[in-house]
Symmetry: C2
Subunit: 572 residues, 2 copies
């Protein structure tokens, strides 16, 4: 109980900034409703939970500070909210209180004086931090406690929109996208039919067409869907390829096809291999291609491996070219790969989950040159384009094939005798039945920024990573993982602490260097000042992978990261 | 432009209700900030877009009405929001304006005098309704236009939370769940690692454990995940079953296994068949089981088909028992099926996507008796438990198998040398890489309602459907699709218009009756008064399937539906 009151004081403080004006928020709202709905019936809403606060607030009070007690959430429960009788007022008040918490969080997210995270170990959170109890119980909690739970959830989380959060390919908090998500959850509908999502279904259709135009497919023709992430989008590409060449697998299973093999680079995302395992190809039939020192597929290796597989009696089906690898940010040479795919009649997929965004930039889109020759493309606006999670598109050049591959014609859902044009229903194209509305936030951001706004965002992120690259490429204590300017925003480097700088190359140095990034990362997280990813790759020991996709990042944040790495790593 | 101003007048009206009190919202907010942050630097925030409004509002003004012009969103663009310099004020104002739109929508959702939808055909929406332009452009739109876009998006959508929306298994708008979704999108993170979603990962773990306890697995042991919908959850069950019996398929593909067959009822959800197609079994190897007249699997038919498959050289692998079928709401006899699965050593999955919620009710959970014997369970809180979309769990009794099945050990994401206990990272269990946070809204609802609140919700929905059943079972002009009280909230019936009542049974009547539900449904949608699903099933022509999962529904809404069907269908 003690820690509860402690946190409620903090909550009061949050209110202060907003409400310490000339009136109390709650009072104002009730005044407003009364003036609008001055029937007896409406007035009777005042009776009950809100009586106390209403009594005090029927007049504008210049001097009184808002204090938490007046909101009276301690006696309100979920059952008092809509659709409860007289539930409208508590509902609006509760939602506004939540919004207060959220807007405070948004403000702090962009404030460099706040931490990126307040790290705790799982056992600490499970034990209950200052009364933050994660356990579920039989009896309801008051709305006051629910609000405290909301604050605590944010308090112990990670601010992925913070200008110094560099940990994932997806970062940043776009305000328009956020508004779009709030609206999406309020609309609370499902993409499977036009019937219950008419606007969203059309938005998806128009946006996917625009994306196909940008890819360069004639007239933007083709098909597509937003799916729950890049891994699923990549899985769709393999499924569609299989259906194109061996449609009988849908009915008869993999035993109706010869031994099929897929190709992807050793630097590609693990989801291609996962798709191989899930779909029944087997992960050893996903053949990994050699890359050059920059992480780009060597086309000759693809051709050699195709020939080899054929000689062994396998049937090559599918090639994935990555546009923007996860670690190096490398772009495979799509045109060279497309030549080989044409020669051997293979499906070409481009995994542009990370790099697809560069298509929006006149300056950088040449890195995906040849993408218009792909049969399918994965492109995640939730990564480089800063759209909130999740927003991933699978785009297919041939119209109808997605439907052919996945349709089951469920009569109870997709009735052909509806009064509207049922070709707008999307459910039969998907492997899901219900499908979350991922389009609206993206559509709204596109409206708000214009194509040109996305271009500026992309160009700016790439400039920032160029700034980082130039800053550290010759700096003492740094080694680049690969030579030359990165193709994407990925800058991969080792920080070499002074104690290792004189050490001869060899196993001992490798072992020590392998520990440096994890140690620095752990300290960063415990300090909460910044977050950046690290990983090994092939025979290379742990190194930092810096990426920029957050529009809040400035050069000062890049400088901060380097200072922080040196501060924390100096004595290792 | 004309229709734009027209809609902005409406917007002004929306503001009126809230702000026509003793001050203006905008003014109040700015006062608050100034008093909190009275440095010169903070004061300079006033300069710029907000100068005009701030100037007018530094004092409390009792008489002045808030009017839209003062918000000045017409000169603001996405680029003026955070992280822009001085972006904090416009950001907060914009978000509050969005919230105003959303809370108005919420209010109207529960207001029976509003329509469920304002139906338009795809071509009408594509042509642009009253200036609502869905096309994307190169240049940005003002925030004023973005707000209009938000209003229009809701205006032309479907109110799935309306008390007279009965169209899907998922309906209703839970306020706590909504708040949870708003917070989730503000936190904008990803479930794959504890590192970036510490609180959500633990909430998921604790909630899944609670669900497993409710299923009845010893100590709540086992594993699970929230997945993007019931179809994917069912797909997981098939994958895990395959991995359990034929782990080599993961590496070598389906050719390493014998010809496997899956069993599910002819009334089951199409996602089992879809999983068969996707995973490489082939949909003809998903064997459909006969049901009784109530849509429940006949266990003897399962055993006969297992024996038959074995005799033909197939290897039975997996049986799906449905707890709550989509159309009839039937519960397969799990114990009888479990006996057969044990006898033949088959994986037993229970698809409780729709019926799983009944486990929360002491009165109704006996319908899932035997579920504790299942190897895996699908359970969608976003259906019967009223959680916002999406929220679907796949639960697995054997610990470790989900990880074994899906892990690819991607070094760049799931580093074993992190400073925390990495067994909390969930990414390697999923077929996705990034995974949306679906847990928080559910966790928050559980906190707010308690287990007991879910029980009350379930019991109430079933009472309402019993009310409907009793109302129409002997009513003139109605025929029940199956006899006896439904097991779930599904009430399936034909409405027989007077013109068909005297007609002898036969093809002609069938043909005519087949058209009745679609015609009534089309008129309902065009009137916008209510929505209810219909479909054929087997040799039964189109009938209505009424379901109740929305906590806003009352008996009066059930009465309304029947009145509306009779009003619209009387002259058919």
């Amino acid at each position: 109980a003690d820690s509860l009151s402690k946190r409620l004081v903090l909550a009061g403080d949050a209110w202060y900034g907003v409400a310490h004006g000339c009136t109390r928020k709650l009072g104002m709202k009730i005044c407003g409703f009364l003036q609008k709905n001055n029937s007896l019936d409406e007035k009777s809403r005042m009776v009950g939970a809100f009586k106390e606060s209403a009594k005090n607030q029927m007049s504008c009070d210049n001097s009184e500070r808002f204090t938490r007690a007046e909101t009276d959430f301690s006696n309100l429960f979920a059952r008092d909210l809509l659709p409860a009788k007289n539930g409208e007022e508590p509902t609006i008040q509760f939602l506004l209180e939540v919004v207060e918490i959220l807007t405070n969080y948004v403000r702090k997210t962009f404030d460099r004086s706040t931490k990126v995270l307040d790290f705790h170990h799982p056992h600490q959170l499970l034990e209950g931090m200052e009364g933050f109890n994660l356990e579920l119980s039989d009896q309801p909690e008051s709305l006051e406690q629910i609000l405290v739970d909301c604050r605590d959830t944010l308090k112990y989380g990670v601010r992925t929109g913070h200008p110094r959060f560099f940990n994932q390919l997806s970062s940043g908090l776009d305000i328009i996208g956020l508004a779009g998500e709030w609206l999406t959850s309020t609309a609370n509908t499902n993409m499977f039919t036009y019937e219950i999502a008419p606007v969203f279904v059309l938005m998806e259709q128009l946006t996917l067409k625009k994306m196909r135009e940008i890819i360069g497919w004639t007239n933007g023709d083709g098909d597509g869907l937003f799916s729950p992430g890049g891994a699923i989008s990549n899985m769709y590409s393999v499924m569609v390829a299989r259906y194109k060449y061996f449609p009988e697998v849908k009915t008869k299973g993999m035993s109706a096809a010869p031994r099929l093999v897929l190709f992807t680079s050793e630097h590609s995302h693990y989801s291609i291999k996962k798709a191989g395992a899930v779909l029944g190809f087997g992960k050893e039939n996903v053949i990994l291609l050699k890359t050059d020192e920059r992480g780009r597929v060597i086309p000759a290796d693809l051709e050699a491996k195709i020939i080899d597989a054929k000689q062994k009696g396998y049937v090559p089906l599918f090639v994935n070219a990555t546009a923007g690898t996860t670690v190096y940010g490398a772009f495979d040479p799509i045109n060279d790969i497309a030549d080989i795919c044409e020669k051997y009649n293979l499906w070409l997929h481009v995994d542009g989950a990370w790099g697809g965004g560069l298509l929006m930039s006149r300056k950088h889109r040449h890195k995906l040159s040849g993408i218009e020759r792909a049969n399918s493309v994965t492109w995640n606006p939730h990564k480089m384009m800063g759209v909130p999670l999740q927003c991933s598109a699978i785009l297919v050049r041939e119209k109808g094939i997605l439907q052919g591959c996945n349709s089951m014609c469920a009569g109870y859902l997709f009735q052909p005798d509806k009064q509207y044009d049922v070709t707008y229903d999307t459910g039969d194209k998907a492997i899901q039945c219900g499908r979350h509305v991922d389009i609206f936030k993206f559509w709204l951001m596109w409206k708000a920024k214009g194509t040109i706004g996305f271009e500026q965002h992309i160009d700016r992120c790439l400039e920032l990573s160029e700034y980082l690259y130039n800053k550290i490429k010759n700096r003492e204590g740094y080694e680049m993982v690969f030579e030359g300017q990165p193709q994407h925003t990925n800058v991969c480097f080792w920080y070499i602490p002074p104690s290792l700088r004189g050490m001869p190359h060899g196993d001992k140095r490798r072992e020590k260097l392998h520990m440096v990034a994890p140690k620095i990362k752990a300290m960063m997280m415990e300090c909460g000042t910044t977050m950046v990813g690290y990983q090994p790759q092939g025979d290379k020991v742990n190194f930092f992978r810096m990426v920029v996709s957050n529009h809040a990042v400035t050069k000062s944040d890049i400088d901060f990261l380097i200072d922080e790495i040196e501060r924390l790593g100096h004595d290792l």
